[in-house]
Symmetry: C2
DNA sequence: CGGTGCGTTGATGTTGCTCAAAGGATGTGG
DNA sequence: CCACATCCTTTGAGCAACATCAACGCACCG
């Protein structure tokens, strides 16, 4: 049922969510699905043609690797998030890698189709402009936290963000990835969790967390 | 000569640089200049109406401040760079501050005028999309370096970037700002410069730097 | 001149990393 | 379904990188 993939992509993706029925039909024609298994690379840098890839089902991480192999998780993707904007709008390759964290499917929109859409629908461009501006703001806030906050504060902030307001929740990522997300080692993460617990800020059992 | 300001803005700004003469005339009508003295705040967060501000003459820094007053310099602006995209495309306030590092002038384009332009010129939107995508890539690379590299490597990379290929050049910023840019204290910056010198990687006399 | 902010240097403290070891979880092939 | 390998996670001990605090010279500017 590739039709289902297309419909769910359109309804999930904020940048496409305000189209009329007629416009939706038009976008439908250009979308094709792509599936990845847990642990697979989603875009292996410059090997593929420019295209926008919208995460439809699953979870993925965007990461950058240093020469000696250490990883920084730059972004955690959930349904509706997309990748490939640099390639699609500038034809330059990104130096990020994207890895599926569980079996995932994307909706793929090729560069030429996207440009046709943008020419026909100027409002769509403005939606993407808003989206990219928000991404910049978030990435700058992330850089600020890396430069100014301690590991202790960065971890607590990330947990509050992941909790989405709930008091109890389950970590949706491995602790290794959490560590790489806030720029510390797994060892330091483990110790920082203990500090937060002994400070009475949260309690943690395996991956189940309560914020106090 | 406000006319001179407008002309130089149009010619300097990459996103406006491919307009026809007729289109340039059209954009002209909407631009107005704004001047700031060294040390002045350029946008004091949410106090002003949404507008895109293109740096025309001078230099400025985009920074974020922690609760206890420490600053992270997120971006260094030179002619052609612009600010205000978040406000203009999303109507949300940015949590960055912008400070003129010397007497500077900007070309200001108000939100309504920009939106009219975008509706009339879809190609302009694509240029800005390319621009914002590049900004995201750079900001992500910056976050990576903050998370993975040592102060030593971050400083050397920044100096190579500022040198623009020249062997000898003069630091265009205070050392205090350089330190805030790479997320370290001025004391550590001073010591890291000494290390680079004793490693034979560069020589430095006040603000004159030679890369070896 | 007399401030005020910048830059350097030294001494000391803290944060987070490295290295090593071991127990748990997960997945795979037989 | 078990045995084995592999990866994740935790814990400990020692160490490196960077911050903090204090002092002082220096330039710039009123």
């Amino acid at each position: 049922m590739s039709g289902n993939h297309k419909i769910s992509c359109l309804s999930r993706v904020p940048i496409f969510s305000h189209l009329t029925d007629e416009e939706s039909d038009q976008v439908h024609k250009f979308l094709r699905p792509a599936h990845f298994k847990k642990g697979e690379f989603v875009i292996n840098s410059s090997l593929s043609k420019p295209r926008l890839m919208v995460l439809n089902r699953g979870r993925a991480k965007v990461l950058r690797t240093s020469k000696d192999g250490r990883e920084q998780v730059i972004r955690l993707l959930s349904a509706g998030d997309y990748i490939g904007e640099l390639e699609v709008f500038t034809n330059k390759p990104s130096s990020s890698d994207v890895v599926a964290m569980e079996d995932s499917s994307f909706c793929v929109l090729d560069q030429t189709h996207l440009h046709n859409l943008l020419a026909a629908k100027p409002k769509l461009a403005v939606r993407i402009l808003a989206d990219l501006s928000t991404r910049i703001e978030k990435t700058e806030a992330y850089a600020e936290s890396l430069g100014l906050d301690t590991a202790y504060d960065r971890l607590y902030s990330l947990l509050v963000e992941l909790s989405e307001g709930r008091k109890n929740f389950t970590l949706p990522y491995s602790k290794k990835d959490l560590a790489a997300r806030i720029g510390i080692t797994p060892e330091t993460l483990s110790r920082t969790f203990k500090k937060l617990e002994s400070d009475g800020r949260l309690s943690i059992d395996n991956k189940n967390i309560s914020i106090l």
